[in-house]
Symmetry: C2
Subunit: 558 residues, 2 copies
């Protein structure tokens, strides 16, 4: 099997105008970025709202393991397969972050024969959306310190500034800084730090906004600091939102690319899946639903985090009603959940698979609580055995009454996911479109929302809110934010807050260490355990091997 | 007269493919960014090298004053006028920096009827070149601290790291920081700081590189730190250059746009004019010379800094031979050099003009030393009087034997600069193409190069090199950098290092406070006086007034 980059290079891409034409987008609604990437004009996106809505399919996964699950690959493969069986389908994905490419993560554009292309462009600067978000965030940061410098008319308490800075790079040295050093001309020294751009609230706002006006309103609600009297200070108070919106104007237009098999893909926005909701933009998803009879999208991490936030935050805010949910699992990963070491994954082990099945089972049950029908996609890896796949299918049928379908899109492209596509189409077509059953009602107190998620979806006995966090929750509620959904920030590797508790742990206690208000995005973040918002680089960063070859082609990026 | 933005909006832009076609660039050599902006493919740029070279015209200016001179406006107007009189001309300009747009500077795309368009895009993210430079610079910064974190195999002295960080924003709070705070996981605390992106050596390298291979080589020569044994550490030592080149690959392709009158303009790169050389990219200038019979370009600040660096650094490195130099002056600015206050500029004052003429005179004499013929463009402002223009013309003719031509391109477009265009074409056509007479030979000691510039061009009695700077010069020479040109970093407002000494001061002493090695760019920076590499925002930043209007158009940016 050739590598991802070899496959991508060997592909003949269609002009993006041809891809657009097939889903009814005229050339004058496109802002092209070369021949294979285009943004869809705001005016065209607005006009789409009048069209009928297609059916929304969410792709989520079991709790991730070092074995890999292939969620993005499956999203792409499923979209290709739906198109292959004659269902007009648009794929909606997140944009990859630049920083991790230079560490060890590799690209984020699918893999094998289920990729979005041109992959180098998508993984690097793409259409500059993340740079625009970084610039808008940086402008807000500069305006805050400039306000302090010129007399601090709003009486901001410089010890209570919540707006950190961002850069789209893995740079641990910037996690904690003191700034404004060097004397009078440089302002009032204070502590600060940088997160990676995808952790910016601007990113979360960008991905939840309906349009430019909603974007500007949401930016204005972002609370960046408190006054010395403990009143919130927003970006509207700092008169930052007009200029930030100008910086984000072009970026907010969704990006159209294609898969290796010529399916249209909207790749737009990419918020963190821990301190934010981890889904592509609402604008792209809503557009995809109107451009296709089906829109296939994915959510970050496993279903406990990704699908829950997709329903309780994104669908609730954006009025979306998924018609089917695909949960991606692999034999390898379930064996790891059953206790097998990574190096032993090459050996058939049905017993371990059966033990690890508990992880998948809980995710299936959880997703069903939201009222959406479920199908399991078993992403085939070459060392898997027939017996293992047969055992997994039987477990799914017998214990969960859910269909499990083996997929080979990585090796075979759309043809390898045809069975999955037929099952998904049947499920989606057979499901009336209705508002999901959310995990908790809007009006519940914030702590109750966290507790409900922990008990119902994580199998926890209870939550334990640290006193500082409890005081902040009370303050948020007093300030009128009780109605907000919560955004759980916990490890993706376990239903608990301990990443080593794989499988399907029960009876644990979820410690809520801290909470944060994301008033612009419209949620309260519950931080359970250590959450990293600025990754570091490994000892030998991928950057050392990335270069242009003699023909000017990029090597070492993936 | 309508505002710049009103004029720009009223214009009907041609498709960029049509602009390209007129200078012989086929559509498949373009990477479009929407309908009115395109990058020209590396392969096409390479192929151009075989074509005959047109004539190069430099636009420079007197020492800037608060009255404004209109150098970019004149560059655009001259280019338009040359095309109007039938001379195929390409305009080569610098890209504007994002940060200053939110302060008080306004845009940098010309003005009145002499503008490059689409001005909003050019002034904001444009094609993302500066974002790519920021990302490449940030990657290098992250790799340095990552190297320290993982054992410091190169034995870098963390107190002697010269590589600061950059952001494309006016943010005084980042000028001085301590970083890597917060414990073991965040690295070894040290002092650091941020400059604005245009001050990055990556930007200078970008603008002096011949092609991608030269770019990567130059990046590799950049000295970012010293070891504890005081040996230089380069970006090649850190294995950073391959990934940085990948990040810069697309950006290095020059950007093609048009003027209001449809002239082709290459807008590419934009290094600081103090700690760097202040000219657009060598790649764009060399391409412009082969795409047009004439290429008109500009250099930052007044001729003492901009033209000197253009000749001694850019022309020397890139093998360019200017055929004519335009020095832009205004009656208003010369009256200020003659001692008139800004608020009194509306009153006719021939005596002050005659006093201030000394500034223009010295710039004309200086430029002639480089062996290029000179013409003076007197950029007309509405309060100027006939008597003032007549007096200035007479002074130029009688005392300098140079033609001074009144230009009205701001109000009238190309028609207003026709006389200038005819004079420039005649001068350029009549001048055999030859290597400039540089201000100093390569082989002179570094301090002698600085002294020669100060004495010959600035009218100084001598230089005074502070002991720390002298020691560094000795070290640079010992490390093999004696042959490098020097890049003077001093105030642009005076021939001296005192910005209040306007006109044409003589006999002053130029204090060289510090020197810096830019080994990748290929020059040694001589810092004379306080040089700001990170601007701040004013009390009421322009950002507060920037917003989208009800039709989604940008307001308040200019």
């Amino acid at each position: 099997m050739p590598t991802d980059i070899e496959i991508a290079r060997a592909a003949t891409l269609q002009p993006i105008t041809a891809i657009a034409e097939r889903i009814g987008i005229p050339e004058d609604a496109l802002h092209s970025y070369g021949r294979h990437i285009a943004k869809i004009d705001h005016a065209h996106i607005r006009a789409l709202e009048a069209r009928p809505e297609g059916r929304l399919v969410l792709v989520t996964a079991i709790s991730p393991t070092p074995a890999g699950e292939g969620k993005t690959t499956t999203t792409v493969g499923l979209g290709d397969a739906l198109n292959r069986i004659g269902r007009r389908t648009v794929i909606c994905l997140r944009e990859p972050s630049l920083g991790p490419c230079f560490g060890m993560k590799g690209g984020a554009a699918g893999g094998g024969r289920a990729q979005v292309v041109p992959m180098e462009a998508i993984n690097l600067h793409f259409t500059g959306d993340f740079h625009a978000i970084t610039a808008a965030h940086s402008l807000a940061a500069a305006l805050i310190d400039n306000h302090l410098y010129w007399g601090n008319a709003l009486d901001i308490d410089s010890r209570r500034i919540a707006w950190r800075r961002v850069v789209d790079m893995n740079d641990r040295a910037l996690r904690g800084i003191t700034q404004s050093l060097g004397g009078v001309a440089n302002g009032y020294p204070r502590e600060d730090g940088f997160d990676i751009t995808v952790a910016s609230e601007v990113m979360a706002v960008f991905c939840l906004a309906r349009d430019l006006a909603d974007l500007e309103e949401r930016l204005g609600r972002i609370v960046v600091a408190e006054t010395r009297a403990r009143a919130p200070v927003t970006l509207a108070d700092l008169k930052a939102t007009g200029a930030m919106t100008v910086l984000l104007k072009d970026a907010l237009q969704p990006n159209l690319v294609q898969t290796l098999e010529g399916s249209p893909a909207l790749i737009h926005g990419g918020p963190f899946a821990n301190i934010a909701h981890g889904c592509n933009s609402v604008i792209a998803t809503r557009a995809g639903l109107r451009l296709g009879d089906y829109a296939v999208t994915e959510a970050g991490f496993g279903a406990d985090l990704g699908a829950e936030k997709f329903f309780d935050i994104k669908c609730r805010q954006a009025g979306l009603s998924p018609s089917a949910v695909v949960i991606v699992a692999t034999v390898r990963a379930l064996k790891m959940h059953g206790g097998v070491e990574k190096k032993a994954l090459g050996t058939e082990n049905v017993a371990a698979l059966e033990a690890g099945f508990a992880n998948l089972a809980r995710h299936v049950e959880n997703v069903r609580r939201f009222g959406a029908p479920v199908v399991v996609a078993v992403n085939h890896f070459h060392a898997d055995t027939e017996a293992e796949h047969a055992a997994l299918k039987a477990l799914c049928a017998d214990r969960l009454d859910v269909e499990a379908i083996t997929c080979r899109h990585w090796a075979e492209g759309a043809a390898g996911a045809e069975a999955l596509a037929r099952a998904v189409a049947a499920l989606a077509d057979g499901t009336p479109r209705r508002t999901p059953r959310f995990a908790y009602p809007e009006e519940a107190p914030l702590a109750d929302k966290i507790r409900t998620i922990a008990r119902t979806l994580y199998g926890a006995a209870d939550i334990q809110v640290e006193s500082k966090a409890a005081a902040k929750l009370a303050q948020f509620e007093a300030n009128g934010h009780r109605h907000l959904p919560v955004c759980m920030a916990k490890t993706q590797y376990s239903f608990s807050t301990d990443p080593s508790l794989i499988g399907a742990p029960s009876g644990h206690v979820v410690a809520v260490r801290d909470v944060r208000l994301s008033a612009g995005a419209g949620f309260v973040v519950a931080i359970c355990g250590e959450i990293m918002t600025m990754p570091g680089l490994p000892k030998v960063p991928a950057a050392e091997g990335i270069h242009l070859d003699a023909d000017g082609r990029i090597e070492g990026l993936f």
